[in-house]
């Protein structure tokens, strides 16, 4: 997915690899001297080495706003949004890519943000539920979810709406059966499925730009 790097910046993967090699050789050296290993562990040297290379620079455009960040490579896009950027509209429902609550758009495509690391998206454009409305005007899909009561507790709702918008844009909202198939990656435990379908059909037939 790393196709959108700024060609003027060094590829972060190379830098990462260099650091990794440095760390590995250090650890290999330590491994040859058992007492040094113990000493290193005592002083948390290995952890300090790791900490120094833990963060990687990352540029993202989120909801139209540019962010220059430094993140640990193990940070998922979901955790970056929720915990670091406080964009908590995107929900964590399983962390395994099985429920769809964390659905966001990456360069226009729907993605389970819990299943991708933030650093995989350098230079890409992310849209979250917070970026869907234009100011006070709700997106037609948001309007339709309110009108058709396409939710109850509201927790899966941002993911459903992001997925529903993509479903229409992809051309997968042609029939009730097609909508049900292409929306099956978004679980609603309250069971508002029928109302979600009604909302999507309303938007599809409503003629507004989605």
């Amino acid at each position: 997915m790393a196709t959108n790097h700024d060609p003027d910046l060094p590829a972060p993967h190379d830098e990462h690899r260099r650091n990794f090699l440095k760390q590995s050789s250090l650890l290999t050296a330590l491994a040859l001297v058992p007492s040094a290993v113990v000493e290193a562990a005592e002083s948390k040297l290995d952890e300090r080495v790791a900490e120094a290379i833990e963060k990687i620079p990352l540029s993202l455009k989120i909801n139209g706003k540019k962010h220059k960040l430094k993140v640990e490579p193990r940070t998922t896009l979901l955790d970056l949004l929720r915990e670091d950027l406080h964009l908590t509209g995107t929900k964590k429902g399983c962390d395994y890519g099985q429920c769809g609550a964390c659905t966001v758009h990456v360069d226009g495509l729907r993605v389970n943000s819990c299943l991708s690391f933030a650093v995989m998206h350098d230079g890409q454009e992310i849209t979250t539920i917070e970026g869907l409305a234009s100011g006070d005007d709700l997106h037609p899909m948001q309007e339709a979810f309110v009108k058709h009561d396409g939710f109850q507790c509201g927790y899966c709702t941002p993911g459903q709406i992001m997925s529903a918008v993509a479903c229409v844009r992809e051309g997968h909202a042609g029939s009730e059966a097609e909508i049900r198939e292409y929306m099956s990656g978004n679980i609603c435990r309250c069971g508002a499925y029928a109302n979600i379908v009604a909302a999507i059909q309303d938007v599809k037939s409503g003629g507004k730009k989605v």
């Binding site: 929720r82 509209g89 964590k92 009561d149 109850q152 929306m183 069971g191």
Partner: protein
Amino acid sequence: MKPNDKQIGSSLNRVDGRLKVTGAAKYSAEYELPNLTYGVLVGSTIAKGRITSLDTKAAQNAPGVLAVISHLNSPKVPGFQPTGKEPSQPQTGGEPLKVFFDDKIRFNDQPIALVVADTLQRARHAARLVQAQYARETHQTNMVAGAKDAFLPSSAKKNPKSPMADYQRGQPDAYQTAALKIEQEYVIPTEHHHPMEMQSITAHWEAPDRLTLYDKTQGTIGTRRDFAKEWNLPEDHVKVIATYVGGAFGNALHSWPHESAAIIGAKVTGRPVKLMLTREQMFTMVGYRPYTWQKIGMSATADGRITAITHESIGQTSSYQEFTESTLQQTRMMYQSPNLTTRYRLAALDVSTPIWMRGPGEATGSFALESAMDEMAHLLKLDPMEFRLRNYTEQDPEKNRPWSTKFLRECYAKGAELVGWNKRQLQPGTLREGDWLLGYGMGVGTFGANRGAAHVSARLQPDGTVLLQCATTDIGPGTGTAMTQIAADTLGLPPERIRFELGQSGFPQAGSQGGSSTVNTVGQAVQDACLALKDRLRELAAPGTPAFATAKKEDVALTDGHLTLPGNAARVPFATLLQQPDAALVNVESKANGADKDKFSMYSFSVHFAEVAVHALTGEVRVRKLVSCADAGTIINLKTAANQMKGGAVGGIGMALMEHAVIDDRYGRYVTKDFADYHVPVQADAPAVEVFFVNQPDYHVNQLGTKGIGEIATIGVAPAIANAVFNATGKRVRELPITPDKLV
């Protein structure tokens, strides 16, 4: 909207809809607090035994780690300590797990340590570095083995009148000697609630004796009470905030070990701790619908009159706490039967404690009862609806008193019409479309129309809006919306001028959102508070405008910023009434329904009809259509109520066709630990659901006439589907879920 338009019975859009569709609604793990830290729990990897050593050094040394807390170093939680005043006998029914209290392991994945770090990634990594050694003891997690030692619940031993005690009318086990009888066993496996929001808490000690909890709970007052007691604090020193709850279905009706753990973590680090369980931990740490074995014996006359029913049940519970539910209640009161026997038992296993899951025991019990009704009808060669009608009860046969209201007959008729019941064939396996076998089935549900006590405050604001507050919660049904409608009608104001705030323990007290009782209870309190507010305003207006002194509170109107009386020129501006601070504030307590509760049996009723298609070669079951009809009293909001009914039906599809938690008894650990292994219905599994409400008020429950719909939306759905599968295939599946392997 004109102020005179009735809001009750309308389809008002949810008042919090905009916040939910824009991502602005904040759930319990979404509050920004200074110095916030992250807690991750480490679970045991054995089901029973003791921790012999716990190596936390690597975790403690990991970057960003602030604390690793276990039984070895946990601060003393006052509520966990013996008080010296313990009774000589152990507490009836056991007690909840005390987290990090001792080295004892009672179930697999029991929390044994909490890692607190400055970022989620660091906490998660460090949690993996904690190493435990155990002294294992032999565990028992198998229900079949555990059921051999099944026992009468302590509550029934103590009180023979307890609903958990054995019940008898007429002759015991009278079905056994009858000519026309069935005797079958039914099994429901362990099922998990799995709300989409995993259990989360953010615990913040704002001062050494002041605790604030942003918590996923169905009851802010209950949670406050539990943790005030645990930390020996005055209740008003504990604040619980649950403005938005991302589903719960019962699993946030209880306080769980992870909540105690987060509070301990915040105490140790002196910083707020946010803890969200993983989906895997949702299987082990926050309850479940218990595995339940049931047996029904039933006899009838050739013309379809039931002569006897015996219904026995054994439900799973934990080794340290007795959990009971009303599995056998529906059997005692739904159908006439001169002889009726019920026996309820528990089997204690080395697992965590169960908790009510939507439609709780009644949904479990109705699977057995309503399947048995279908089996008996088949034996008698009777239409199953006709069989039910021949045994319809015009009064409660358990308590021998009238129903407050019962419109189940109307539900049968409408549901049969909507599903096309006339297409159903008496002979199973008759209807076929290509490779698909078609069938129709029905299942009945009931749940007590309960009403408790609640407090609500109402205040007229200077801008002419009315602010109502109550500590109740909204886990999804749309409580705030329904309350806004009730207030709007009572005050004669448009809904935009009402603001109903909920989900904080500091608001006037109300019980937990559970047992389909919120609208019955809080709805009445809202109505009472609005009337009390009118009366207060009338009193405030009376000194300057004598017409108000003699007016009735019901007649007082709030019109264009003035207090008015219809047919009278008297007008007092709100500003005049609001000169004293808090003058226009009332705080009202509505009591639980009293005398009527003893004179009438109060229940909501539902019937669900299913049309299924079963693939003749693969055994795949598709629910093509569900019709859910409810006698639930007055419907406050048609749109949100219908949504709740449809959602309950979807839950019933899960129960019937897919939900099944599997424990590997060798290790006493779940092998189903995410949505790949534990299937819940997805969009493609959900059929069109048609909903019908009788919408007749029951004024014995409250003055609004509501009875509640949350539980009856699910109760009876699973047997409707199972019965439809039998009608399609001739195969009777008595152990849920109905997976293809059981049909081919």
